[in-house]
């Protein structure tokens, strides 16, 4: 466990948990019970099938990061907690979005999409389904760009993160 000074409002914690039923409910329940706010939460198995990895973005305005980490660590199924420092980690988020796109506007939308590095997944008569993988801030910006065209449906995954390589070698 390695906790950095809480100089940012949002902090990313990588929580390794035992891969048992109900563990996500325990983590989510803890945040609710202690009145900690979370910005996003993503969970998936790791390369070791006995463990899952939860990436959780914590809003430290609701509670000091130190308390969040210590309370999480008390959960018996939580094996390890690491904080990823915003400056020393790689964060990605996937967005799927269906946007209104009459034929005369498609080129414009695709131009935005290319600049952001996204993909067209599917085309309809008056709509397009797009995907974008990127740092959360770039996904935010792209979502803002699309809004005037009319977003019909949107799903973001919440962020996942790894420590950046030079940090990992320390």
């Amino acid at each position: 466990m390695n906790v950095h000074a809480p100089e940012f409002r949002y902090h990313t914690l990588v929580v390794t948990v035992e891969n048992k039923s109900g563990v996500l409910a325990r983590v989510a329940g803890l945040f609710a019970r202690r009145a900690f706010n979370i910005e996003s939460l993503a969970v998936a198995p790791t390369d070791d099938e006995g463990f899952s990895r939860i990436t959780v973005v914590v809003d430290v305005e609701s509670a000091p990061l130190d308390q969040v980490v210590k309370q999480l660590d008390k959960l018996v199924n939580v094996v390890e907690i690491r904080e990823l420092h915003p400056g020393h980690s790689v964060e990605r988020e996937l967005m799927l979005v269906t946007v209104t796109a009459e034929p005369d506007l498609r080129d414009e939308i695709v131009e935005h999409l290319d600049r952001a590095g996204g993909k067209v997944l599917s085309l309809g008569i008056d709509r397009m389904m797009l995907s974008l993988v990127g740092p959360p801030s770039r996904v935010d910006e792209f979502e803002d760009l699309l809004r005037p065209y009319g977003i019909l449906e949107l799903q973001r995954t919440g962020r996942v993160a790894l420590a950046s390589l030079d940090d990992a070698l320390d």
Binding site: A25, K70, V76, V79
Partner: protein, 580 residues
């Protein structure tokens, strides 16, 4: 290694025997039925309760008194929800307890089956940990893990939910192979006992330099079996000790360094010494709001050394200047060694000591003396009971005025003689908790000091006590009111009494107690108190209830009104002219 084929139900009982369980409290029902059959052949004594809440509080009382985990077993659904209150109580007071609940067969989970409820979901936030076992082969390991988690680190309740099919010998899904040695698999559970020597040196430095230090002792001292070494620390340094509601008895009340109990109804000296201190050494205490009063105004000049085995307590409420994570007994031993080697400091604390003794002289715990025509004083009853019972008597209490008077007017000179519900404040705690304690120590006297509101919540367990030959004694301080709520309405709601009057006529507690197999006495007159207690102390073949009809307008003082700073402590009227 011994291996043996058996069913999950027998394995469960054998696993409990392997943990050294001697007694369990419970009540059978549909889903847990198969586990009750092997109990007949088990060495474990089973106490059949009248309500599952009683089973939980009995297990807690047993655990408080002995330090060993209390065990309760009940069925699914309503039985599980009935034991939710004791689980939460044990969670807030860090009581080691293992609760086994029956569950509907695994295949029926999620179908809203008869007596199904999501027991692990409901109890997730009020247990230290809980398990839903789905494979009978996992039962021995899970039980071992449950006891390990309940009793190590910061103790707490653990619940094990067992679907019926894996314990039912008529179901092939219950087949398993018993092995004597099972390994625990708890990769995320590593309580830290050892303390950082650097932190101990820093703590010792603050202790040496302090002019106005106080040892602020909480229930963790009792959990860590650290009363003896605490006394060493106090005597080595000459620093005064306050014991919280959960720590009464951890330091002898009659010791000259004892300052008493802090908090909302603490005595003037304890509250004020903490308030004026320049150093608080918090030992297994958690800066509860009932201790601190309004937090911003709490001990404004004090630096804080905080020792706790639970890292999440360090800095949760008050930021410590020195945080010591680890077992509080280990920490105190290290601190004593450090202060013995490096000296206890040169600071002259005589001025501080004389301020303390001034408070003790001017503001002793006291109540308006009885005058002819007055109703019986509840505080007087407690004093008489205290003086007429052996020193090792175990006292339990419910929650409310009677609890505060008991904590104030009893003299606790030994650890583990005071058992109450501190964190959750569970009315009805005293009678079942007393039963649990008496089961653990049949040769000792156990008195439940109760109120009439509390008594009506769990009195049926006196039937359990009578039938199971557990002769506890109950001092019922009966003022016909929900007394503490009445006190708040008198003081803070302009004497507008809303829904606090119970009844002067019903129930007839004497008749009720007798109908439950108890010896019962009713007392109105102060002159009869001593003889009633003497009579009660003579009875050892059944429980005793004394219905003391006490004054309804008696209030608990001192008092820090809710939301106020501890500096605004209200003392009884006859002390209000004293210079603070």
């Amino acid at each position: 290694m011994t291996t043996e084929r058996m069913d999950g139900g027998r394995a469960l009982i054998r696993a409990l025997e392997h943990e050294g369980v001697e007694v369990m409290f419970g009540l059978p029902g549909g889903a847990i039925l198969p586990v009750y059959d092997p109990i007949i052949d088990s060495s474990i004594r089973h106490i059949l309760v009248r309500h599952e809440q009683g089973a939980g509080h009995m297990a807690e009382g047993y655990a408080h008194a002995t330090g060993r985990p209390g065990v309760a077993m009940v069925t699914s659904g309503p039985a599980a929800t009935n034991i939710v209150t004791p689980l939460c109580d044990a969670y807030l007071d860090s009581v080691p307890m293992v609760v086994i609940t029956g569950q509907v067969p695994y295949a029926a989970i999620g179908t809203d089956a008869f007596q199904e409820c999501d027991t692990t979901g409901i109890t997730q936030s009020i247990t230290k940990h809980n398990f839903l076992v789905t494979d009978p082969q996992d039962i021995p390991r899970t039980i071992k893990e449950a006891f390990h988690i309940a009793t190590t680190g910061r103790p707490g309740p653990v619940l094990v939910d067992i679907p019926k099919d894996i314990v039912d010998p008529t179901n092939p899904r219950s087949e398993m192979v018993w092995e004597d040695d099972v390994e625990m698999d708890l990769p995320g559970y590593r309580p830290q006992v050892e303390v950082d020597p650097e932190a101990i040196r820093a703590a010792a430095k603050l202790v040496r330099d302090a002019e106005r230090p106080v040892l602020y002792v909480g229930g963790g001292i009792l959990k860590a079996r650290a009363a003896e070494v605490l006394r060493e620390l106090a005597e080595l340094t000459g620093i005064g000790v306050v014991t919280t509601l959960m720590a009464r008895g951890a330091f002898p009340d009659s010791h000259e360094l004892c300052l008493g109990m802090p908090g909302m109804h603490g005595n003037y000296t304890a509250v004020t010494a903490m308030q004026e201190a320049d150093l608080l050494v918090a030992l297994g205490a958690r800066f509860d709001d009932r201790v601190t009063g309004r937090l911003e105004g709490f001990a404004p000049e004090a630096r804080v050394v905080h020792v706790d085995i639970d890292p999440a307590e360090l800095g949760k409420v008050r930021r410590p200047d020195v945080a010591v994570q680890g077992d509080v007994r280990v920490a105190i031993e290290a601190l004593v060694a450090e202060l013995s080697d490096g000296g206890t400091g040169e600071v002259d604390r005589s001025a501080w000591r004389s301020r303390i003794s001034g408070w003790q002289e001017r503001f002793p715990l006291a109540y308006e003396p009885w005058v002819p025509g007055d109703a019986l004083k509840p505080q007087y009853v407690i004093e008489q009971l205290r003086d007429a019972t052996p020193a090792d008597t175990i006292v339990t209490s419910g929650v409310g005025q009677h609890q505060m008077w008991a904590s104030q007017y009893w003299t606790f000179d030994y650890p583990y003689t005071w058992i109450n519900s501190g964190g959750l404040g569970t009315m009805g705690f005293s009678i079942p908790a007393a039963i649990g304690a008496k089961v653990a120590y049949p040769e000792r006297m156990v008195w439940a000091i109760d109120g009439d509101g509390c008594f009506q919540m769990t009195a049926q367990e006196l039937v359990t006590a009578a039938v199971e030959d557990i002769p506890i004694k109950v001092a019922l301080l009966n003022n016909s009111y929900l007394g503490m709520v009445r006190q708040w309405q008198e003081m803070f709601y302009e004497e507008r009494y809303s829904e606090v009057f119970l009844s002067k006529e019903v129930p007839d507690y004497k008749m009720w107690a007798e109908s439950m197999g108890c010896h019962a006495i009713r007392i109105d007159d102060p002159d009869e108190v001593d003889s009633a207690i003497a009579q009660a102390n003579e009875v050892d073949d059944r429980p005793v209830v004394i219905d003391f009809r006490v004054a309804a307008d008696e209030k608990v003082f001192p008092m820090v009104p809710s939301g106020k700073s501890n500096s605004e402590l209200v003392v009884p009227e006859f002390q209000r002219d004293q210079p603070r």
